[in-house]
């Protein structure tokens, strides 16, 4: 079962800090919640890069470790 009951909450670790999410939240929804610019970041879920085309489809699960970081290009 992928979706959580709307009233259920789950615990995730977002950028190293514990976070409670209510109901079923996709990665895209989490980014909106956090007001993060989708064109300037990459996302790692449980130590794997999650490509952008998957963000709408992947749901946050209990105890997921989610890291969002800025793209950097300097050298």
């Amino acid at each position: 079962m992928d979706a959580n009951h709307p009233s259920q909450s789950i615990q995730v670790v977002f950028n190293g800090a514990a976070e409670t999410l209510k109901g079923t939240v996709t990665i895209s929804e989490l980014l909106i919640l956090k007001q993060l610019p989708i064109n300037a970041i990459a996302i790692v879920v449980n130590d794997e890069v999650l490509p952008r085309s998957r963000w709408n489809h992947v749901i946050c699960h209990q105890y997921d470790r989610i890291n969002v970081f800025s793209a950097v290009a300097g050298g």
Binding site: E48, V49, P51, R52, S53, R54, V72, A73, G74, G75
Partner: protein, 267 residues
């Protein structure tokens, strides 16, 4: 070159003492060809480490000139080099130290056109180091490496945030190895204003990323590298490293190699 000279045995003895490198590894280093694209903070250190390690054939590409505010982190250059092309200054200084090294110093801007004109030189068996400072160049280099099946060692840093990875686009791709490419990590519309010039950076933090690039390069050449497709992130403030497995974006239109399509049909 098939054998080392007596002087080289002494010169590279500490490298060869590593059991998995030995004389064969040192000969591989000496016979390797590398291209360093971008001779700023990253590239200027990568070239020094590789030249010192025994690499004899370099392609250096950068259209930028040395500026005073480069000097705190670009230790290959000095005040007398200001205003000169970085590739020219790098070649001149390194030729003084290593007379037997061949440098092809190209003071040109990297574009899709310029890289395709260089495709004879930037071809198989040339290890590519992406040391540039902008997304446009990084995408051009990635595209070239994917289509030509080259190995790419890419590093970047802005402020306290460094990122690094190595992908061998010539390797046979298996289900576990679908690392994708730079475009899978950062699609073409990626944007940020975080370049060194706008964000600021500490010299040694750039040096950490460049040293890692050189380390990975030598390991790749010596066949001791195993972490292909692993994104390494360095926080230069907390000194923490983070690793993440890179994954192909199924919607990436660039890295659809034949092997991948075969794999997709096979399922």
């Amino acid at each position: 070159m098939n054998t080392l000279s007596a002087k080289q045995y002494i010169q590279y003895s500490r490298t060869m003492l590593l059991n998995d490198i030995g004389e064969a590894g040192q000969l591989a280093i000496i016979n390797s060809q590398v291209a360093i694209i971008g001779l700023g903070g990253l590239g200027q250190l990568v070239v020094q480490y590789l030249a010192a390690a025994g690499v004899k054939q370099f392609i250096l590409l950068d259209h930028d000139v040395v500026a005073l505010d480069n000097l705190p982190r670009q230790l290959l250059y000095n005040e007398a080099d200001i205003g000169q092309y970085k590739v020219t200054a790098a070649k001149r200084t390194l030729r003084r130290l290593y007379s037997d090294i061949y440098f092809d110093a190209i003071p040109e801007m990297l574009t899709e056109t310029s890289i395709s004109e260089l495709s004879d030189e930037l071809s198989k068996d040339v290890l590519i180091f992406d040391c540039t400072d902008n997304f446009a160049s990084r995408h051009v280099i990635n595209q070239h490496c994917v289509t030509q099946g080259l190995t790419l060692i890419s590093a970047a840093i802005s402020a306290y945030h460094g990122q690094l990875f190595c992908i061998d686009f010539g390797a046979k791709i298996t289900h576990e190895k679908q690392h994708g490419c730079y475009r899978c990590l950062y699609p073409l519309d990626i944007e940020t204003n975080q370049t060194c010039s706008q964000q600021g950076v500490l010299g040694p933090a750039v040096g950490v990323m460049a040293s890692m690039q050189a380390l990975i390069g030598l390991q790749h050449i010596c066949n001791t590298f195993t972490q292909y497709g692993m994104l390494l992130r360095f926080d230069a403030l907390t000194l923490e490293w983070h690793q993440a497995k890179m994954n192909r974006d199924q919607q990436c239109t660039l890295c659809q190699q034949p092997q991948l399509q075969e794999y997709a049909h096979g399922c």
